[in-house]
């Protein structure tokens, strides 16, 4: 589903060069749910950016559904984000001048989906995140957790194969964070959506099937998890 093949991403050059991702390799299978942890600046967001084709690796290859993302044209990468990959950011996910339902429908509008179908799919997505009652609200009138759920609905409305979530719970209290996490787990279990989640919260991280620890752009260790927060196996960093 998602494959990293010896991927390195360097920003800048010379003395100021930063290796955001350093010779990273892993494979996420269809239906997996991984979480990504690590200190700030470890390269977590960059890992997601590379998958979504927002930036390209300095060396190595990132494959999504068997296709090298870096080789895609801008058009194809856009289509990937529009149809296959739902992206949830930590904040500023929603367009402030659109209502919740308009925000959710936007990828479909971009894809030229007929309005009738949008009218059918948007309420379903909002229902999934339990936000139907807020459909007509503008983002400014929603709580942080609600905004995040709307953002997830927008990621879901396209029936994504993959959801990339960059600290979706970062701004939320535990209860709201928990609700968002439950939603992701449910998605993964019921719809077999492949999920890659970035989080600083070990409890939430442990809700994934596997936890990757990223330090300075390399995998420090990966932990298999039973999805209930208890670690099963831990493998150290291979040098």
């Amino acid at each position: 589903m998602i494959e990293y093949r010896q991927v390195t991403k360097v920003f800048g050059s010379g003395d100021t060069a930063v290796k955001a991702v350093d010779d990273l390799s892993f494979t996420i299978e269809r239906g997996d749910f991984w979480s990504l942890m690590g200190p700030s600046g470890a390269g977590k967001s960059t890992v997601l950016h590379l998958i979504a084709g927002l930036t390209s690796p300095t060396s190595g290859a990132v494959l999504v559904e068997g296709r090298d993302v870096a080789r895609m044209s801008g058009k194809e990468a856009a289509e990937l984000r529009r149809r296959r990959v739902g992206y949830v950011l930590q904040a500023f996910n929603l367009l402030p001048f659109l209502t919740a339902e308009e925000n959710v429908g936007m990828p479909l509008v971009l894809d030229g989906v007929p309005q009738r179908e949008i009218d059918r799919r948007v309420p379903a997505a909002l229902e999934l995140v339990k936000m139907t009652h807020r459909a007509k609200h503008h983002p400014t009138t929603l709580s942080g957790g609600e905004q995040q759920r709307v953002a997830i609905a927008r990621a879901l409305v396209i029936d994504p194969a993959i959801v990339l979530a960059d600290e979706p719970t970062g701004n939320l209290d535990r209860a709201n964070g928990r609700a968002v996490m439950d939603l992701l787990v449910d998605l993964n279990e019921r719809l077999s959506v492949t999920i890659l989640l970035v989080t600083h919260d070990p409890v939430f991280a442990a809700m994934a099937k596997r936890v990757l620890h990223l330090v300075d752009g390399s995998l420090e260790q990966t932990t298999a998890s039973d999805g209930d927060g208890d670690a099963l196996t831990t493998s150290g960093r291979r040098r």
């Binding site: 930036t55 856009a78 984000r81 971009l110």
Partner: protein
């Protein structure tokens, strides 16, 4: 795409309605000016044509000398009557008279052969018995007035009216009222009809007429008769259909109208620039939205199309608003323009109704839309190409980064090269079209160079500002050069306004200076200038009899006089030029400043001019017809061709197309014209000008409506006329200034919005509000200064091009260039004040919000 327009564009455009309005307004301004000038041009021409046709009435042919502004002998009428196909040949003489007691009103006086008119029935008398009126009209004090004139003044048959005619003020008796139809409707009804001999006497035009209207027998072949008459009449007299005559004026007025069109094109450039600025700043604000859309899978081309569609919609709105505004502007400005034209052409241009050339509107529509798309293209492309990640990191430099300095400089050189080539072609071909094209491009070029210049100024300002203003200065300098494009664009906007303003003020200043050089110390210098009060709408006063010169010459304290007579409408090789006649004193070589004669010797010229064998020609005439000293020039005088040797080439502004200066005696002999327009008076040593003025008034004031001016007043009078001729330029200038100022404000304000976050950070680490404000005001003041200095530099070159080249070929005036320095300084102060005010407003906006709010903005 339409859904995106509704979901994304509509709310955003509505939220920043000020900016959307600015885009619409920018296009609307450009379009409105183009429409207004088009409507004004059409209306003035149509009004003029209507007047000619009304005056012609049912006559199929008209006989005139040249285009009919110079009189000729009435004997031609008898010759025409001998043609078998001619039913009637009706002579007409024309002049302008004043209304005593109402100096603002001037009337057209028509002298007609009323018995002959009976056949034509051009006039309908509404009151009194026709036959009785005819009998009464033999009395030289009888007049007919129009109902339009009589009714509001409560005048009726039998009442007396005192007119100031060229031969003196005299009471006349109203014998009948003319129905406001046909001829009597021309000139807005400000028309007085007299019997021909009486009118000739009143106008000092004995035996002279201006026009013969020819009525042909039914079924007579007009073409054949026209050719036959033409071959039998003396050369110089022309037989034309009324429509042909009015068509000749299309060419005469064409150059002025083309200049106005050029002016309206400049407004379009300003409009394009405003749209470009506005969409560029809007792009910054909308970057986050666009990045979010990209993250959701929007394609570049999709966003590009969306933005262009937006531009199209705004453009359509702008054009749709611009066209009616243009018509409205035309309503307001037509009077102004026709007044300006009457100053330049010495003809009255009555405009009764607006003429909108519908067939031009689709073109204007296309031009307006094209301009919007052109102006929006750059920012649309930039927004569509932005990297979403860069924007999410709030790296606005990625958004504001414009084209590289090298590309701009190359572009500038290309634009300047093309515009230079166009101006060269203008000079070569005397082409108005190329001139318009060249100067519009030059104007556009000045905008392009601003950004590299601003970049280059970095070294200076990043030194000066911290030294002058400390930390605030350092922050200001840092911010100025972080995005040189934005700074450059703002400075260019200011420079643009300055350039327009300086060009127009330098034009009128140059014209004023050039003209006053005649009167102060030049060959037209005098102690007192005496003339009629009335004019034909322009600056030239209506004629007075030359005997007045003799009477003034005999007054106590008067040493000598000069007489000046000007024919503004003489035809020469198809162009409408002026002929000026002067008495001997005018040619005195001592009166000409050094270098006044661009060619020819003042001493030998004076001999030939005084002998009536030579003529001086204006620079414009010499260049237009490639004439040189020693060549001969042949004028169509009423009594046949008059050939004179060219003795000198001199500057002169009597007419836009050029002028010929000769001995007034020739005008008396060959044109049979005994009138003068001005009498220049020289005093004996010790005589006081005030006393002599009073003496002239006492002697002649009773019988004539005279204007007696001191030298300073003469110069002031002409300066006022120049101002009248340029009033439209000033109006246009004001419009550009207003719209551009709005653009500058937008730029300054949005630059602050972009920097809210860092300004908040700056405050968090200890800068107080005062320091933040100071730095913003210093920043915008510096931008204002840059724009102002750039504006003066560009304004200098641009106005030199306009005064020295465009004005010459567009309008025909050869001017020496004087830069309006005082205006330049005034504008500089104005610009600095405006920029600092805008900066202050922005600074207040920046410091109003709390520090934490500012920090949270991403």
């Amino acid at each position: 795409m339409l859904r995106l327009l509704r979901l994304i564009s509509y709310p955003q455009l509505r939220a920043s309605w000020g900016r959307s309005l600015l885009v619409i307004g920018g296009i609307a301004t450009g379009v409105a000016l183009i429409v207004a000038i088009d409507v004004i041009n059409a209306s003035v021409l149509a009004g003029f044509r209507r007047t000619i046709e009304r005056v012609a009435g049912p006559a199929q042919l008209q006989v005139t000398l040249g285009i009919g502004e110079v009189g000729f002998s009435e004997a031609a009428a008898d010759l025409i009557r001998t043609d078998p196909a001619v039913v009637a040949a009706i002579p007409l003489t024309r002049g302008t008279v004043g209304l005593v007691g109402d100096p603002g009103t001037t009337l057209q006086l028509f002298g007609v052969d009323l018995t002959a008119e009976e056949d034509l029935q051009r006039y309908t008398v509404t009151s009194g018995d026709r036959r009785e009126i005819l009998a009464n009209m033999n009395d030289p004090s009888s007049i007919l007035v129009t109902s339009t004139f009589a009714e509001p003044r409560g005048l009726d048959v039998g009442r007396s009216l005192t007119l100031a005619t060229p031969t003196g003020t005299r009471p006349y008796t109203i014998r009948g009222i003319l129905e406001a139809r046909g001829m009597a409707a021309a000139f807005g009804g400000l028309l007085i009809v007299m019997d021909l001999p009486a009118a000739q006497r009143a106008l000092a035009k004995d035996g002279q007429i201006d026009q013969i209207d020819v009525v042909l027998a039914d079924g007579a072949p007009i073409d054949a008769v026209q050719a036959r008459l033409q071959s039998r009449l003396p050369t110089g007299l022309r037989v034309l259909r009324p429509a042909e005559r009015s068509a000749e004026y299309d060419g005469v007025l064409g150059s002025f109208q083309a200049m106005l069109t050029g002016l309206s094109l400049l407004c379009l450039v300003a409009g394009i620039y405003i749209v470009y600025n506005t969409t560029s700043t809007a792009a910054v604000h909308r970057a986050l939205t666009m990045a979010a859309l990209r993250l959701q899978g929007a394609e570049r081309s999709q966003l590009f199309r969306l933005l262009m569609l937006e531009a199209l919609v705004l453009g359509v709105l702008g054009v749709v608003a611009g066209i009616p505004i243009g018509v409205l502007l035309a309503m307001l400005l037509t009077g102004m323009v026709s007044d300006s034209m009457s100053v330049i052409f010495q003809i009255r241009f009555p405009v009764e109704a607006l003429t909108v050339r519908l067939q031009h509107q689709p073109w204007i529509f296309v031009v307006g839309i094209g301009a919007t798309l052109f102006a929006s293209y750059a920012s649309a492309r930039r927004v569509a190409r932005m990297e979403p990640l860069a924007i999410m990191r709030a790296d606005f430099r990625a958004v504001t980064r414009g084209p590289s300095a090298r590309r701009l400089i190359v572009g500038w050189i290309a634009l300047v090269a093309i515009s230079t080539a166009a101006l060269a072609i203008e000079v070569q071909q005397r082409s108005i079209l190329w001139g318009n094209f060249g100067s519009t491009l030059w104007f556009a070029a000045s905008i392009v160079i601003a950004i590299p210049l601003v970049r280059a100024s970095r070294a200076i300002f990043s030194q000066i500002l911290p030294r002058l203003f400390g930390a605030a200065g350092r922050v200001a300098a840092e911010s100025l050069y972080r995005s040189p494009v934005r700074t450059g664009v703002t400075a260019a906007a200011i420079a643009l306004v300055m350039t327009v303003a300086l060009t127009s003020s330098s034009l009128s200043w140059s014209l004023s200076r050039n003209i006053s050089s005649y009167f102060s110390g030049g060959f037209l210098a005098c102690d007192l200038a005496v003339s009629a009060v009335t004019t034909d709408g322009g600056w030239l006063e209506t004629p007075i009899p030359d005997e007045l010169g003799g009477e003034i010459g005999r007054l106590e304290g008067v040493r000598s006089i000069d007489l000046i007579r000007i024919f503004p409408g003489q035809m020469f090789r198809g162009e409408r030029i002026a002929v000026g006649g002067g008495s001997d004193g005018i040619f005195d070589p001592d009166r000409y400043p050094r270098g006044w004669y661009r060619s020819g010797n003042p001493e030998t010229a004076a001999v030939a001019l005084r002998a009536g064998t030579g003529a001086n020609v204006s620079l414009s005439l010499a260049e237009r017809f490639r004439l040189a000293v020693g060549d001969r020039i042949t004028l169509d005088a009423p009594d046949g061709p008059l050939s004179l040797a060219i003795t000198g080439i001199v500057p002169d502004y009597m007419s836009d197309r050029g002028s010929v200066i000769l001995n007034r005696r020739l005008l008396v002999e060959h044109w049979n014209d005994h009138a003068v327009n001005r009498i220049h008076v020289f005093l004996r040593p010790g005589a006081a000008a005030e006393d002599v003025r009073a003496r002239i008034a006492a002697r002649l004031g009773k019988d004539y409506a005279l204007k007696i001016l001191m030298p300073g007043e003469v110069v002031a009078f002409h300066a006022e006329q120049v101002a009248r001729a340029f009033v439209l330029m000033d109006a246009v200038q004001l419009l550009i200034v207003v719209v551009t100022v709005a653009g500058i404000l937008d730029l300054l304000l949005s630059s602050i919005v972009e920097r809210k976050r860092e300004l908040s950070l700056w405050r968090m680490i200890g800068a107080d509000e005062g320091a933040v404000r100071r730095s913003v005001v210093v920043e915008s003041g510096t931008i204002g200064a840059m724009g102002g200095i750039l504006g003066i530099a560009l304004g200098f070159v641009t106005s030199a091009i306009w005064v020295g080249m465009n004005f010459r070929y567009l309008l025909g005036y050869y001017l020496q260039f004087y830069f309006a320095w005082t205006s330049a300084l005034r504008f500089l102060v104005l610009v600095a004040a405006m920029a600092m005010t805008a900066g202050y407003l922005a600074a207040v906006a920046a410091t109003r919000q709390s520090i934490l709010d500012g920090l949270r903005i991403d």
